[in-house]
């Protein structure tokens, strides 16, 4: 009776073991499937950063070219010495939302296909250590926003930020 009960035990064990192996195979396939988009995401990220950093350089160049106009428009928007009701950020937005600070870059290769990246400077923020004086060390934070549609059809938006040290000095003659 005991022997009759043990009939087919090896087959059952093999079937269970086979099912486990099949499950392992399915899990492994799904891991492979998810790891490929992760690789392309690394490629995308570096592309976005290079493009954004390049555009941020142009924004910094604009600031270096026209510091007086930037500071005036920044003061018009945020200066503590101006009553809040009189402040207006339209001039600062016109400085930042310059058409030259928007770029549409079409990049094509075999890894990511043909993707159009739309990069735009979204913000220029001054961080002042000494609030009581105009002159001294400041930090200029420049943000660029990059949008694109990934090869998988997903709309992606990324923001890249860089901060520069600025020594704000007066060019007025000293008495």
């Amino acid at each position: 009776m005991m022997q009759a009960k043990r009939k087919g035990t090896a087959v059952v064990i093999a079937l269970v073991f086979g099912l486990l192996l099949l499950q392992m195979g399915i899990v492994y396939t799904s891991i492979l499937r998810t790891s490929k988009p992760q690789t392309s995401r690394i490629d995308e990220r570096s592309r976005v950063e290079f493009l954004a950093n390049g555009l941020i350089e142009l924004a910094l160049l604009k600031f270096r070219f026209l510091p007086t106009d930037f500071y005036a428009s920044y003061d018009a928007a945020f200066s503590p010495s101006i009553p809040p009701s009189n402040r207006n950020n339209a001039y600062l937005r016109s400085f930042i939302e310059d058409p030259v600070l928007t770029v549409h870059e079409q990049v094509e290769d075999s890894l990511l296909g043909n993707v159009q990246y739309n990069a735009q400077i979204s913000d220029m923020i001054l961080h002042t250590v000494a609030t009581s004086t105009w002159w001294g060390v400041q930090a200029l934070e420049i943000r660029a926003n990059v949008t694109f549609t990934s090869p998988e059809g997903v709309n992606v938006s990324r923001t890249v930020t860089k901060v520069y040290r600025i020594d704000r000095t007066s060019t007025a003659p000293v008495n």
Partner: protein, 196 residues
């Protein structure tokens, strides 16, 4: 009694054979998946090497002083100036940086790196105020006599201060068919900031 024992042994052997067959059948697709995985990992490795090499090279090119590479190609005009396009190695070194373009060996694979630089003329657009008007009404920005849509420079475009860098890395995958060509492109810009 002897007959019954022999019958039990025969059944056990059949079971073992059947079990081995099932296990082998289960292993075959697993081996196939493993093989695909290894092949995919090797391909990813070549891609990552190519991507990292491209990033490192473009970073190095962007670290060099503005206009140094262009001057190496004779400068002048709006370009484009191409480096490493013929597949011949191009080397440019300063005290601390070395840029290598053209055919570059990275690990077991050969990558071809081509850098194209071209000038990007631009016009800045902004609102400009009158400093005298600001002095007279320092707490009322609306009275600072703003002039909208002012272009800088006022005539023509500013050139020679902003360059577009496009780096293309090309390589062949390692496979039995002789290799599939792969390309990876990075684009960035560099402004002439240091000399201003």
């Amino acid at each position: 009694m002897t007959y019954r024992r022999n019958k039990r042994q025969a059944v056990t052997l059949t079971e073992i054979m059947l079990a081995l067959f099932i296990l082998s059948a289960a292993f075959l697709p697993i081996m196939g998946v493993m093989s695909t995985g290894i092949h995919g990992t090797q391909k990813d490795e070549t891609i990552l090497r190519g991507v990292q090499l491209a990033q490192k090279t473009l970073n190095t090119a962007l670290q060099l002083p503005f206009g140094d590479l262009v001057a190496n190609r004779g400068g002048g005009g709006n370009g484009p100036w191409t480096f490493g396009a013929t597949g011949v190695e191009f080397s440019y070194a300063t005290g601390s940086l070395e840029l290598r373009l053209g055919k570059v060996l990275e690990g077991p694979l050969e990558y071809t790196l081509v850098l194209e630089i071209r000038d990007e003329p631009f016009i800045f657009n902004l609102s400009v105020h009158n400093p005298m008007a600001r002095n007279n009404a320092s707490d009322s920005p609306a009275l600072w006599e703003w002039q909208d849509d002012v272009k800088v420079p006022r005539v023509g475009e500013q050139s020679g201060l902003y360059h577009r860098y496009a780096l293309t890395a090309t390589w062949f995958d390692r496979d039995s068919t002789g290799g599939t060509q792969r390309t990876y492109r990075l684009v960035s810009y560099k402004a002439r900031l240091q000399e201003l």
